[in-house]
């Protein structure tokens, strides 16, 4: 049978495409391992894989997991939060991630879901074995006790979320009791509006040592928003800014408490050349500041900020606020509702979403559960 070259090329291309499509498919269930310690306060009831896929293409493995894990509270205490650690094999820099669910209210023996959705791309360096592993990093109970290895320092985060949740729930309950459902509704609408108005952004962090000065870099001073009654007085700070990159912010503070301060979480509010403000986030800075002592804290990191569409944000100025203070004895201080709070707490966001989807009555019933 004779075939001209012109006709042979499309046939060859089609055959090649079919061969490419005939990729090796791997069972996603064997691609992820869920490991809990023997004395874990939660037990894995089920894992639903949904539309998870794991395919080997050439020299790489693309793993996309859409899992809904169901856990049961195996203790006699109520669970307020859980953090799972997700690690990936053979990721050159030891990449890891975490999934946390705060604002839980899980009673003894009750079940609750946790979603783990991830996409993993890795070179095919070795055959066999799970590509990702999920382990328990921490569980927070209603008495603020903690269980877990705490490899990610999730205890501090989960405690802060729980304290904020209690503060905000109490605030909304006080509004409901003092001013009725109408006032509560106004509070919810205001919260939803603030969340919608907050400028969406992208962010990039790189793990870098303290960088040396670069051409075009400028040093800016910034002030802190007032936080009445804070045990630490923040006297301001300075940072280096180069375009859309914030480098090595430095904070000056004085410990007015009677306990040693272990870490201070500082929130960053960046202003671009058009006057728009972006909440860059809040980062804890570790220290060991004795009572009555003053000091300066430097964060060895660089953050790059961009808008959601990828356009760089040229930083013109910045402000800061005090997010939380952790003391050496494990106790924590958080700002009051009347202080400057540019970011809603996870609990406030949850309650606002509950109001938006199910209405005011559902919100009132939820508040009465606590």
């Amino acid at each position: 049978m004779c075939m001209s070259i012109k006709r042979a090329i499309p046939v060859l291309l089609a055959v090649t495409a079919l061969a490419g499509l005939a990729q090796t498919r791997v069972d996603p269930r064997s691609s992820m391992n869920i490991r809990l310690p023997d004395d874990s306060p939660v037990a894995l009831l089920s894992a639903s894989w949904g539309d998870s896929t794991a395919t080997a293409r050439g020299g790489a493995m693309l793993l996309e997991l859409r899992t809904a894990l169901s856990f049961r509270n195996s203790t006699q205490r109520r669970i307020r939060g859980i953090t799972l650690l997700v690690t990936a094999q053979d990721l050159a820099a030891g990449g890891k991630a975490s999934v946390s669910v705060p604002s839980l209210n899980v009673g003894p023996g009750e079940a609750f879901p946790v979603r783990v959705d991830l996409r993993l791309l890795r070179p095919l360096t070795q055959a066999g074995g799970p590509l990702a592993e999920v382990t328990l990093d921490g569980v927070l109970f209603d008495d603020l006790s903690f269980y877990g290895p705490n490899r990610l320092n999730c205890r501090r985060s989960m405690m802060q979320w729980e304290l904020e949740a209690r503060r905000d729930r109490q605030f909304f309950k006080d509004v409901l009791a003092r001013s009725g459902q109408g006032a509560l509704q106004q509070q919810m609408l205001g919260s939803l509006n603030r969340q919608a108005d907050s400028a969406a952004m992208q962010a990039r962090v790189t793990h870098a040592p303290r960088a040396t000065n670069q051409a075009g870099e400028r040093q800016v001073q910034f002030a802190f928003a007032a936080a009445a009654g804070a045990p630490v007085e923040l006297r301001g700070g300075m940072a280096r800014i180069l375009g859309n990159e914030l480098r090595s912010p430095r904070v000056f503070l004085e410990n007015r408490a009677r306990k040693v301060v272990r870490s201070v979480e500082v929130g960053w509010l960046l202003r671009d050349t058009q006057g728009r403000e972006f909440v860059a986030g809040a980062t804890p800075i570790a220290t060991s500041l004795a009572p009555g002592r003053s000091g300066s804290l430097v964060q060895d990191a660089s953050f790059r900020i961009a808008e959601r569409n990828g356009q760089a944000v040229n930083i013109e100025g910045m402000r800061a606020w005090l997010g939380s203070i952790e003391f050496e004895d494990g106790s924590m201080w958080i700002p009051r509702r009347s202080d400057y709070l540019p970011m809603p707490s996870p609990e406030e966001q949850r309650l606002a979403e509950l109001y938006r989807k199910r209405g005011l009555q559902a919100l009132v019933e939820e508040l009465n559960k606590f």
Binding site: L91, G95, A97, R115, R119, R122, V205, T206, H207
Partner: protein, 183 residues
């Protein structure tokens, strides 16, 4: 008739003309009396000069050459005296081993103290993608934490080495907070 120049006639008289030029002058001298007289005059002058500058028969060329060679050697030796001294001392194996050991220690100290950023390791980067998922790029691998398409996460920096995204699960209403860490 074109006569050769006085220079050509003088060179012909001394036998220093090139072959073909000499043949041309010789052919001219067969028929030119004036040029033959010029050549004869040049030859006589050459003989007289040779006779005047003839070295004496008693001159000892061998001793003169030896004296000249000796003077040359003296001059060269004098030049070596004023040039930088070349050390012909060679290190023994013990000092050489000591120098090598010190060099190795210095190189090891430098390598151990080279700042991380100078080792040109690829810096892992945590970044939020355009779809607001959080992505960690680390070497040849990548891990992304995804969010339900129906939710709009709030993304922010949570630590010097991590990014955080917070979203509401549309099915359960739970808040889910995901972090990727640049380790």
């Amino acid at each position: 008739m074109k006569h050769p120049s006085a220079e050509q006639l003088a060179l012909f008289a001394g036998g220093d003309l090139p072959l073909f030029e000499g043949l041309a002058v010789r052919w001219h001298l067969r028929t030119c009396t004036a040029c033959r007289f010029e050549v004869k005059e040049f030859c006589s002058a050459s003989d007289e000069a040779r006779a005047e500058f003839e070295p004496p028969a008693s001159l000892a060329w061998e001793s003169l050459a030896a004296e000249m060679k000796a003077n040359i050697r003296v001059g060269l030796a004098a030049g070596e005296c004023v040039s930088p001294a070349r050390s012909h001392v060679r290190l023994g194996w013990r000092p050489a081993a000591g120098v090598a050991a010190v060099t190795a220690v210095l190189m090891l100290a430098y390598w151990l103290n080279v700042p991380a950023w100078q080792t040109h390791k690829p810096s892992p980067t945590a970044v939020v993608t355009s779809t607001a998922d959080i992505e960690l790029n680390a070497g040849a691998g990548r891990i992304e934490l995804l969010h339900p398409s129906t939710s709009t996460p709030v993304v922010y920096v949570s630590a010097p080495d991590s990014l955080r995204a917070r979203s509401v699960d549309p099915d359960t209403g739970q808040i889910t907070i995901t972090n990727v860490y640049v380790d």
